[in-house]
Each structure stands twice: as C-alpha cells, then as structure tokens.
Symmetry: D2
Subunit: 363 residues, 4 copies
C-alpha cells in the first residue's frame, strides 16, 4: 500500500495555539485514518524567527519562513493551512487560491460577508476545508445521524450556548482577539461562529433572526457577549447565547435540541457524551440517557481506541483531516468548506447589523 500513497507538502501560516492542533493532526491522521496520502509538515510561516524555530523543532516542521507570500505559491507546497488572526484569512486564502493550492482555513472564514464571498469564489474549484472542528466530535456526528434517522421527529427548539471566561482576563486584552482590526468581532466571530456552524449542520439553515451584542469591559472595541433568537428553515425556534464573561466555564460549548420524538443535549466539556431522550419509549422508561459515544458503532470509534476509552479535543482535528483526505481521494466535496463557512459568515453579519439597530422596549 505504501507505494501507492501520494505525498502532500503542507505550508502552515501561524504558530499559535491552534497551529499546534493542526500540526498534531497532520502527524496523527495516518495513525488513525486509512488515507492515501503521506502528509509532510514542510514549511511553517510566522512573524518571529525564534518562536518559529522552537515550534518547528517541537512539531517537526522542516523549514521556517517569515514571509508567507513567498511560500504559498511554491511548487513544492500542496496544501496551504491558514492558522492566523482573522484579518489575514482573506489575503492568504486568495494568494493560495491563485496558486491553485489545496486550502485549509481557520474559522471564522472572514471579516465580512463581502470578503467571504470573494474567498469562497476563489477556492470553489480547489479542495478546501474550514476548521469547524466540532462537527467531528463523535457525539455531534452521532447527533447528526440520530436526527437524520428521524429520531427526534419534528424539531421545535434548538438551544445553543458558548460560554468561556476569556474576556475577564485582562492580561489577554492586548492580544489580537480583542482588536477590531485583527479579529473583526469578539464573541460573535470567536464563539458564535462555532455555535452557528454546529446548529446549521444539525438543524439546517436559519431563515430570520433578532440579536443583541454587549461589551462588558470598559473601552473594549469589540463585543463580549451576543444573544440571538432565530427561526430555522424547518420552522423550529433557535436561541443562541455566547459570552466571554461566563466565569467558571472554560469551554462551555453546548446545545439542546427538542423535537416531537425526543431531545438531545451536548456540552464539549464532556465531549465523549451525548444526552438523548427518546419519547417514543413506553412512558415509564422515558429518560435522558447519557451515551458514552465511544462504542463500536459510534462515529470515529473504529479510528481511535476502544469502547470506554475516551478521546479529547485534538481528535476533532484529526477526524476533520481524515475525512477531508478520504473525500479528496474520492474527488468528493468536503464539508465544512468555504461555502459552508460563508453561510455562517452571512448570519454573523446579520447578527451584527441587527444588534447595531437595537430597539428594545423599556419598562
């Protein structure tokens, strides 16, 4: 089999936290997924030579570069992976697209819908991926399967939250995530984007909404929290709340879905579990059950360990990449791609527009 595998060289732009998760996936995907490619961690690009070298040594990147523009078009680069602040997604993606590369991009896709549309158009004929990694949490993939099988019946309510406490840590206030020019928005782009992608993956498109945003920290130029009420295309009601002032929550990213036949609940802090209530059971047996989604027939369990042997955060990136490479071999479209992320971007922009025109009733 080894002879038939193709080599793919990766150039990654970025060397922060998320670049570690990507690097890990590049090394691990072949251990857990049957793929037709050898991935090579070829070049890592960034702004600080010393940090780049340390990162490259730790994660096995062959070269470092301070100049991504000279890298993304190199003939020995097959994949360009964008793991940098939001404001840079567009220029790198457009350059990589112009060079005909396979393109991976961190979320949220862009700084605006307009920008996102240009990016999506540019990559449309190239294999591409956006790192909405939570779709590959086995419990979320299993939720998708249960919904597709009609196990929830008609959906009535989709309820989402994403709370962490990052906004209360003043030591982080100088990082790019708190500047409009680099991040575009706060909880909206950082957290709500994840919630929306999961919601639209599980429950379909959003047809209309009302929203508000709020900034708790004095002088901060972006939002710290956002609330959204939506109607989905399937007529269900949606509620979303995301905040960086959720003191006590580290990565409190979850949802509840209520349908005519039951409900589901999930929280990424207990990501190996999915709560399921089956209202088609006989009355006295109806209860919320806590599925440990590591069983022999659960999504991705054949890839990783044994039943009861849980996986973690990093495996969502590995599974995203594994599925991408298998789709690539089959010449199939992978999801979530730039077009999927553009749909999220459109909702984010409407949220911000609506929030700006806030017209509540006073009591």
């Amino acid at each position: 089999m080894a002879q038939t595998k193709k080599n793919l060289n990766i150039a990654m732009v970025g060397n922060g936290f998320i670049a570690r998760a990507h690097s890990n996936a590049f090394h691990q995907v072949g251990h857990f997924f049957d793929v037709d490619y050898w991935l090579h961690t070829k070049i890592i690009c960034g702004r600080n030579q010393a940090k780049l070298e340390a990162f490259a040594e730790q994660w096995g990147w062959e070269e470092v570069s301070l100049d991504w523009e000279s890298v993304v078009g190199r003939p020995d680069v097959d994949i360009v992976d964008i793991a940098v602040p939001n404001a840079l997604h567009s220029p790198i993606a457009l350059a990589a697209a112009a060079a005909g590369k396979i393109i991976f991009c961190e979320k949220p896709l862009a700084m605006s819908t307009e920008q996102g549309e240009k990016m999506a158009t540019a990559v449309r004929n190239l294999p591409n991926l956006v790192w909405f990694n939570y779709r590959r949490v086995p419990a979320i993939a299993f939720a998708k399967q249960l919904i597709a099988e009609g196990r929830l019946g008609t959906i009535f309510h989709y309820r989402s939250y994403y709370f962490n406490q990052s906004g209360t840590d003043s030591s982080k206030a100088q990082t790019w995530r708190y500047h409009r020019s680099e991040a575009g928005s706060g909880a909206v782009g950082d957290l709500l984007s994840h919630s929306l992608d999961t919601a639209m993956y599980l429950n379909g498109e959003i047809s209309e909404l009302s929203a508000t945003t709020h900034t708790f920290a004095p002088g901060r130029e972006i939002d710290d929290a956002v609330q959204v009420m939506t109607r989905f295309g399937n007529s269900s009601l949606g509620s979303f709340e995301a905040s960086r002032f959720g003191v006590g929550r580290r990565n409190g990213n979850g949802f509840e879905i209520y349908g005519s036949k039951g409900n589901l609940a999930f929280d990424v802090e207990d990501m190996n579990r999915l709560e399921f209530f089956d209202a088609t059971e006989p009355g006295p047996m109806q209860a919320r059950r806590s599925l440990l989604v590591t069983g022999p027939e659960h999504p991705y369990s054949a890839n990783f360990w044994k039943p009861g042997h849980i996986i973690g955060y990093e495996h969502t990136f590995i599974a995203t990449l594994g599925d991408f490479l298998q789709a690539l071999a089959r010449k199939e479209q992978f999801h979530p791609n730039f077009d999927d992320a553009l749909k999220v971007q459109r909702v984010l922009e409407v949220v911000e527009t609506f929030a700006a025109s806030r017209q509540w009733l006073k009591l």
Copy 2:
C-alpha cells in the same frame, strides 16, 4: 402555647391540582413551622358538587359551596385562597378585598397589567400573598443569600429556562389553560411568570427587553413558547425561554447566573441541589460544586428533616405559608405579594406587546 394561638378560617376557591398543594400546606404548616395560628380548612368552593365533596373528604374541608360570591364575605372566613383559572383571580380578589380578608392568590396575578393594578391597589392594606412558591425552594433561597453576600460579585448573565411538554398532549387541549378567555396566555403566563418572579427575586428589576412568542399547535389561540432577551437594572443581560413543547422535560425550570466571582445553576427537577462555582478559590480548586441544600445551616432545613433527607414540591408551599404566617404575627409585609406579582405582570404584558410587533431580519 396552644392557648395563645389564634384561629384562622380558610375559604379556598378551586379544587384542581394546585388546590391540593394549598390544602396540604394548610394542614402541614403547623408541623414544620412555629406559627401563632391554627388554620382551619373551612370551606372549599367550586363548580362541581360531587368533585367538591370528594376533595373535601380527602383533604378535610368542613364545608363545600358552589357559590364563592356568598362565601368570601362570610364573617367566619379569615383567609380567601384563590386557586382557580386566571380569569377569575380578579373578581374573587376584589370581592375578598372588599370584605377585608387576608388574600392568597395563584400566579399569574391577572389577565393584564390594568387588572393587576386594580387588584394590587385593592389589597394593599390587607395581608396578601401570591403563590410564587419557587422562591421557597431551599436552594433558591440559598442562592438569594449567596448573591446578597456578594459571592457572585457583579452579575453578567442571568439565563433562565422553563420547559415542559404539556403542550404536546392533545388530551389537555380542552382545559382552561389553552383558552385565551380563561388563561390569558400560554407559556407566557403559565411558565414565564414563574421564571420572571425568580429572576427578579434573585437579580432585581428588568429595565428593557425584546421578545418573541410562538404557537406550534395548529389552531391554538395562545402561545406555546416564548423567548425574551432582557437588560436588568444591574446592567446584567438576561435570556429567558419557556415552552410547552420541551419534549422530555416534565418540569424543567431552571437558571444559571454568571457573575465576576462565580456562577450558580439550578433546576427544579433536582430541587434539593444548587450548583455553585466559586471563582475566588485558588485556580486548581475552582469547580462547580453540587450543594445538597439540606444541611443544618441551609434555609428551611431546620423546619423539615435531616441533612441528606430531601424534600419535594409540596414543601415550597408549606414554607411560603410558614413565612407568611410568621410575617403576619410580626405585622410585617410578606413577599411575594400582589405588588411583587404586579411587577411580573408588567413584564408579561411588555413581552406580549413586543412579540406582537415582531420585526426580525430575514436572511
């Protein structure tokens, strides 16, 4: 001590589910609270003689009557307890007030703010109580105490939900709760009213809001679900969602509160517990703890059993009544009273007004 206790005769209007909870409280309060009164379950009023007699036998009511109007003014009646559909709250309360009785009323107070204002004015100089019983869940009373002690710091988020599945049971569609003329509203008055009273008890008054309501059942004349986004007087953000289409939830009535120093979470299906996260602890010891609120120093634990020996739904009514009778002896104002319930009523009306003018953005 027995000699000094005063007798209070009760006339209760209503013989449904909630009238059982009231009757139980009338019999039990003296067993668990040190009160200066002997309560007598004197007369029960309703519309069906046979049901009234059966109820009276089971719950020890001395007389039955089909004519509440002739009862509420009787000189041998001290307390009038209103446990009937919402549309009757106002006429009974006004008649009882005119007769100078002590008045207890089920929630929501009224069919409208205007009606509620008249009721509140009428009873203002009489001892009165509204059965927002959840304030006396020991865990909620303890939450109130923790907040008052500053254990949460500055409040950022108040998140509330009240989900049950009553709306999906078509066999109930003919009951008063599904008719506008008797109930006024659906999830709004039935569920959201409870959520709002708890919220305003714990987090203060609401200053402004946006809201939407929705009816899932075809042809139903009242709302099945409601969503509200609020700003509180203390600048915290509020989100409320209540639904009778929360399949799988029986009485899923809970909240989360996030502040600068920690968070709290509660659900009435596990009403002996309060979840508390103390962010002032050293980092590695910070965690959500599950307080079993039955301990020697918790609210009401001295009244009931021993630590670890839990109480249930009915005890919230007993504790409400116990506190009322103790306030009565001290000639102090009891809360929640008609004025408190009127504040809830005002919010309910703004919710319905706002929801009627729904102006969302389409995508």
Copy 3:
C-alpha cells in the same frame, strides 16, 4: 364513603426524629392514599414530660404518657408504634402483641436473632409492619418491578453502600446510638440493616457471607463501619459497605445491580431518580439513563403530585403506611413485616459473628 371508614387509635412510643416521620405519615396517609381508616394520633409515650407535650402540640397527639406499659394494652388503642432505641423494641412489641394490637416497629427489629425470633412469633397472627421505609421509595419500587419483569436478566453483581458522617460528630457520642446496651451495634444495625432489607427485597435471600467490622473512634464500644461479601441464593455476588465515617455523605445510601441484560443504580440523596442501563438496546443506543421516577406510570406517582414534581424522605413513610392500610383492609399480609425484618436480623448476627473471628492474610 366517610361513614364506612373505621377508626384506628395509635399509641406511639418515642418522640425523637423518627417519631416525627411517623407522626407525619399518620396525618398524611389519608391525603394521598385511598384508605378505609381514620387514623387518630391518640397517645404519645416517652420519658420527658416537657418534650412530650411540645411534640404532642406540634404533631397533634391527644394525650401524653410517661408510662408506655400502661398504655399499650388500653382498649382504646388499636395500633402500637415503636419508635424508640433498639433495646426497647422487644419488650414493647411483646407487650403489644400480648394485648393483641396492630404493631409497627422501627428497624432493626431486635438486639439479636434470638430476641427477634420471639418477637416475630409473638406478632405472627397480628397485622404488623417494620419501618424499612426505603422499599417505598418510588425508584426502588420501580427497580423491583424492572427486575421482576426480567429487565436485568440473570443477576451477576449486587453492590451496596451506605455512608454517612454521623460517627465523626463527637457531640453525638453520648446518644443511645453509640452504646451497645441500647443500640446493640453501630453501622451494622443502623445502616447495614437498611441495605440488607433493600438487597433482599430486590435480589432475594443471602446464602453465605464473609464480613469485617471496624471501629475508628477510640474507646467506642460499637462498630463504625462494616464490609460484607456475600453470595445470594440466585448465585449473584454481593458487596456491602456501610460506614459512619463517610465524610461528605449525609445519607449516601445506594446500590448498583448488574445483570446479563443491563444494570441499575440508585442513591437516596437523589431518590427521585433511578439509573438504568438497557443492554438489550441496539449497541450505539445503549447508555445509562436517568429515570425521573415521578411519571404517570411509576409507582406511587398517582398518589402524590405531577410528573417532574418530586417527593422527599417523608413520602416513603406515607407510602409504607398507605400500603399497610390497604393490605389491612384486604386482610392480606403486609411486607416488610416482623418476619422480613427477622431475616435481616439473622444476616446481621452472622455478620457480627464472622467479623469477630477475623482471619485475614497479612502481606
């Protein structure tokens, strides 16, 4: 219906914590159970006149007496209820039996098997009851039903624990529970007796065992903790552990049962819930589900409130009494009775015998 109800006068011996739970049940049973009797809380007996009078006033006992021996044979007494330290169970039960009364007795039945046998013989032709109240926790009654339906298949493991922290409270060291002459044993009679009754109710008789006891508190004359390994008649393995040094547990009384078709778990601190794992479900749907045992078809739910409206500790006594009175009307044997409690007593005695001859291997 009222005309046909018979009057039953109760004489209760004891005025401590458990006497409150009994008194409550006597007053409440008619509110929640359809019974053919009017119970009258006639006479309460004890050793301290002032405490008796206060108790009688609070709980509505008509008379007080310092001399139980003159009371239990009175012709106007129908039921003798024994709610005193263990050493007094036998003399009161024998006297009440000699007078032909209905007899209720607290657990454990006796100070020894020999004593218990005499008591059981004496009451055999009289209606009798032992207050192993936990059998009437709805979740435990439902567990019994699930097992009877074969939902667990062949039982492999019965695992039981009962942990509280009472032994670490030195202020209680002078109470009767810490003296051999009054209590007979410590954790064995106080806690293990409950665990054994539940186990034998759910899983049948115990055929053989090995055990050990331990006293942590210096100078204490009774055991603080006990461990037992058993074989049941159905060939399953049992493990029991009970301790008064379980710091942090208030009433940590629970079990797990594993069978070929699934498992069950229960803890009385969350007594409205039963955890059930159904291994006959398709693989990916197998999970422990948390049954909220308040549903329309669950045991005792028709007696108390509505689905999702939980009950507490006291309701187990009410349900025990309700079932007893219904059995009495039908002239049927009630369980648990003195014979059932004698079976528990026999196991307790073997536990103590085995523990006394401790022959472990040293490492």
Copy 4:
C-alpha cells in the same frame, strides 16, 4: 537544542491494541514534553508477518521481526518495550535485562510473585518502567497531590471498582486473556492489578486482606470477578471489586477515598474530572465539586491543550513516557517501575491464595 538530543531506538514486542497505545506515545511524547531524546520506532516484533507489516506501515516502525529473541540484544536497540500476553513478560524482560537495555513492560508484571521477583532483580540497575498508565491521568495525579497536601486528612476508606463487560462477549473467549497459561488470571491480573497500583500510589501499602474470586462463565479456567477487603498500612479500610461481568460498563475504573477532611471520587470514563468534597469549608458551602482537571495549574495541563479542552486515554501513555524520559535525563528512578509492579504482584498472589481457601459462613 536539537543537536544535544540523544537518539533512542525502540524495539517493541507485540502488535495488539496496547501496542498501538505505546506506538502513539513514542511518536507523540516529543510534541508535548520537553525531552532530551529522539525516539525512533525501530523494530516491531510479533508472530504474524502480514499483521506486523500493516502495523509497521500504520505506525511508522522501520523494521518488523518474527523473532524477538534475536532483536532484544541488538546493539542498535536501546529500549525494549514488552506489549505481549503476560506469560511472555518474564522471558523478554530477562533477555532484555541481560542485554542491558532500557525496559518497558505492560502490566501485570508477571505470572507469579516468584517470577516477578526475578524480573525486578534483573532490571534493578537498568532504567525501567511498567505501564500502569492510570497514574498519569491528570485527575489521579492531582488526587495524589491533594492527598499529599493533607487535603483529605486521616484516611478512613479507600473504595475501588473496575467493571467492564468483556467477559460476557463469548467471541473473545478464545483470546489469550481467557487462558490460564497465557494470562495467569482473569479480572485479577487484568483489572485488579490496575486498581491496586492506583490504590497503593494514592493510599500506601496494603497490610492485610481477605478476598474471593468467582467465575461466571461455565468452563472458563480463570476468574471473571474478584472482591477484596483490605487494611492499609495507614489503618484505613479498603474495598476492591473488579469484574468482567459489569454489563453496561465499558471501562468503569474508579475509586472513592474518604478522609477526616473530605473525600475524592474518580471514574476513568470521565477521566478529565475529579470529584472533591472539602469538609473544612463552612458547613453550608460543603459539597462535592466536579473539578475539570484541565486547568492551568493542574498536572500535565501545560503539556497538552487549554483549560476546558479535554484529553483522552492515549495521553496517559504519553505522560508516562514523558515523565520517564525526564527522569532518565536526570538519572532518577522512575515510578512505577518493576519494583512497584512487584508490590502489586504480591498482593495479587495473596488475593488468589486467600480466595482459594474460601471459608465463608452459610446462613
């Protein structure tokens, strides 16, 4: 830094499930731990050429061999890793020791205490490790730290369980784990060995015990379940139960520890959490808290991801190896080593000896 790293070539014997976990650790340790070595996955040995080649391709082993005896002494091998059935641990370890290699061995160490003693003696002057990987679950390492700080006070009870359902799967009955000649024992060596290592790590040595074993499956030559009651050197009581007939549990490996100042609870199916009850808190604040052991100051959190971003089963192997390599660089003794595993082996043997002489009391 790269220049100063030393190369270490690994020869692993075994290509089953656990060999995957080891291989993963060899590749991943450098990504998460700052170590002075480059590990090379040099040679994998086994019995089936095709399986070996597939494994080698997937996990990046350079060579395969059907003859471990010719491999373990090769000069280009630095580390011998033993990942084969228990009966082969001893010959491979002794051969590797004779060749002066660094030796890693799966648990349980040996087939008997006598065998284990010879192995421990042979490796005493060589760096060695036994894969009791659960010590490096961050939550267990944090439990160790809390106990060392005296946060539990005097220990009263150590309660352990390890339940899975592997024994009920008849398709596995032909594997080595069910044959005495290859496995030595069943639940005893497979599951109890893990429980004992964790217990002795956290609570010190065991001084005496009583035990029983049981085989549920007809005709099976090894035990399916084991129960042990122990006394620890610190005078606390221990109870252990392990079973392969715990239907519904996949990897139900946990413990509870009760001390004078609080308690701890852990289950590996939720391995990112540690439950802690602090009885030194003011009474009303005492509660079991659910620590999400991913925080900035928790063990190993600096190595892996961010707070709230959980890790899984495989990380315990990575952390074991990381700590070993750091100890190696410092020329310090690593734990758990062969001597630690020998202590576990001694207890296992006493358990089997005691169980063989079963002398329970019949009822």
